[in-house]
């Protein structure tokens, strides 16, 4: 009861307006909540000093922190109320628990994860989304129907060639910007978010977090970081926003760095899967290098960065069958967010490239990029891809896809290009989000590190593959 009297006198001392009952504020003060303490300090420092005296007095007389005592009391109250109001009715949860066992056992859980990755990501997003759906939209809808009509329309109505090029030229707003956004990025992202929503609604993600917690601890993160990481395979920009759910600054920083560096977004992933689909060895090298970079940079960051070690706790909600309506609504709202985010940027990039070409700046930058691109053993056309990649990395990957279709690259070059593009600078959107979330110093430092690191890795991979004489 000492607590109640302390609470009463603390409440009586409070005079400010907080938009919440004073008793509630007083209770949080007694529990030494740092935010509320700051808030009260700003409004009434004198009264806070008095209240702190009461808190010290209370602490001297109680065993353990106040919130611990409070939680025990509250539990007692709740149990008394519940005992008079609730009849226990134990539902048979055997089936759910048996299924849960399969998901949470390290062996079968790993197998389930592999199956989800293979069917959900590779087959559904990679083959069906990035293969069938993209081919249909690219070749049939744009290639045969839309592009010829748009080109014809502008050829007839716009007499001035540069203006015509702005809309329907090689890098036109309609023939390139709109085409990439609608026929390449849209289907891949839609397919990914569909799978993600299904997985999310079953309650599988907390179990995955539990399974991977030990591995994630090695890279300075906890299992909780699984959710932004998995979401990063959809859109790293969105995932960087989701890193807000991580409890410490250190974890948020490591997660942001890894998302920017080694987690390919769904658009990129889809295109890379499509490019490397016919070359299993090349795909293994790519996945191996990117996976190694992810773990190596993560564990280095965990060693170097100061701060508290992460700790993991999470509720494992019961498994549920996802409801079609919920899945569709979630997918729709995510795709809409993504598309509205992407489309203006794609169109803007088209305009920039058009302006760059018109003024000759574009050619000069590509010329300057040719030397570094040659160091990683790629033909000079690939310089264009990397320039695109700076604006949006999926945009760059899409350019690479065109290049591969034209048969300009061999297996080794494809692997090097895919590795470099995966690791390369985050797209403009992510660059901006990094700065917004982590501050401009950290944001720019991350980008510079990635620029050097991606290039260095590409040089090494190229030298390694050439030196070993591997043909992929």
């Amino acid at each position: 009861m000492r607590f109640d009297s302390a609470l009463g006198s603390a409440e009586g001392l409070l005079k400010g307006e907080y938009g919440a009952p004073r008793r509630f504020i007083a209770s949080l003060l007694i529990q030494e909540d740092p935010e509320i303490t700051d808030l009260v300090r700003r409004q009434e420092p004198g009264n806070l000093a008095e209240i702190e005296k009461i808190i010290r007095e209370l602490k001297n007389h109680s065993e353990g922190p106040v919130e611990y005592q409070q939680a025990i009391r509250r539990r007692g109250q709740a149990a008394r109320i519940a005992a008079g109001a609730v009849l226990p009715n134990r539902v048979d949860e055997n089936f759910g628990h048996r299924f849960d066992f399969i998901l949470m056992n390290p062996l079968s859980g790993g197998l389930v994860l592999a199956l989800i990755l293979y069917f959900g990501i590779y087959q559904f997003v990679g083959v069906l989304g990035a293969g069938v759906a993209v081919d249909f939209l690219e070749d049939t809808v744009f290639g045969k129907i839309l592009n010829p009509r748009m080109v014809g329309f502008f050829a007839k109505t716009v007499p001035w060639a540069p203006l015509r090029d702005l809309f329907t030229g090689e890098y036109g707003v309609l023939t390139l910007g709109l085409r990439y956004a609608v026929s390449l990025i849209l289907p891949i992202v839609t397919f990914f978010f569909l799978v993600f929503s299904v997985i999310e609604d079953t309650g599988y993600l907390p179990r995955l977090a539990m399974l991977l917690d030990r591995i994630f601890k090695r890279i300075g993160l906890s299992g909780r970081a699984v959710i932004p990481m998995v979401l990063g395979f959809g859109c790293a920009t969105m995932a960087t926003l989701v890193t807000r759910t991580l409890p410490t600054r250190r974890e948020r920083l490591i997660a942001t760095l890894l998302l920017s560096l080694a987690v390919p977004c769904s658009a990129q992933l889809g295109v890379i899967l499509a490019i490397l689909a016919g070359r299993p060895k090349a795909m293994m090298v790519w996945a191996g290098v990117v996976g190694f970079v992810f773990l190596a940079v993560g564990s280095l960051a965990a060693r170097i960065l100061p701060g508290q070690k992460p700790s993991f706790y999470m509720e494992l909600p019961p498994l549920r069958l996802p409801q079609l309506g919920n899945v569709l609504i979630k997918t729709y709202s995510r795709v809409r967010w993504y598309f509205l985010e992407v489309l203006p940027l794609f169109l803007l990039v088209s305009v920039l490239i058009w302006a760059g070409q018109l003024t000759g700046l574009f050619d000069r930058v590509i010329g300057a990029l040719r030397a570094p691109v040659a160091w990683i053993g790629l033909p000079s056309e690939a310089a264009k891809v990397f320039l695109f990649g700076f604006f949006r990395r999926d945009y760059g990957a899409a350019g690479l896809y065109d290049l591969e279709k034209a048969g300009a690259l061999d297996g080794r070059q494809l692997v090097v290009a895919c590795v470099a593009l995966t690791l390369f600078l985050p797209c403009v959107a992510q660059f901006l989000i990094n700065i917004k979330e982590r501050g401009w110093k950290t944001g720019i430092a991350i980008s510079l590190f990635i620029l050097c690191f991606a290039f260095g890795t590409a040089v090494l991979v190229n030298a390694g593959l050439t030196g070993l004489g591997v043909s992929l």
Partner: protein
């Protein structure tokens, strides 16, 4: 830590305070000092303590067992808040579901997962 001189069970953080009070060279020192009788001794290695400590934390319980929480370590407030948030308090009945790769336990019909560090802070006694 248990003092070999006076038998007091003490926390290493409290031992540090005792060292600071008694000795100017207390930082970077491998000895620990009992806060009660100020007797100085070497720290037992972690594996030695684990070998002789009775199995009492949630992390020491074999999977599939039912147990009751006896005590929660309260020195780290952040960790304590997390444990309270899951409804783990003294007297709570816990069923340990599994221990690898993550520790999973059940309270009533809710399931939670924690890492080993948090589980070590939850002391339990097995139900007969």
């Amino acid at each position: 830590m248990r003092c070999p001189m006076c038998g007091l069970e003490y926390d290493l953080k409290k031992a540090e305070a005792a060292c600071e009070a008694a000795c100017p060279l207390w930082k970077k020192c491998d000895l620990v000092r009992c806060p009660n009788c100020f007797y100085e001794t070497v720290l037992e290695p972690a594996w030695f303590r684990r070998l002789f400590a009775p199995p009492c934390s949630l992390a020491d319980l074999p999977p599939g067992r039912q147990a009751q929480v006896s005590r929660i370590e309260t020195d780290d407030r952040d960790a304590l808040r997390k444990i309270i948030a899951m409804g783990v308090l003294p007297e709570t009945k816990i069923l340990l579901v599994q221990k690898f790769p993550g520790i999973v336990f059940e309270i009533g019909s809710a399931r939670f997962s924690v890492d080993e560090e948090l589980a070590r802070r939850i002391h339990v006694r097995e139900n007969p």
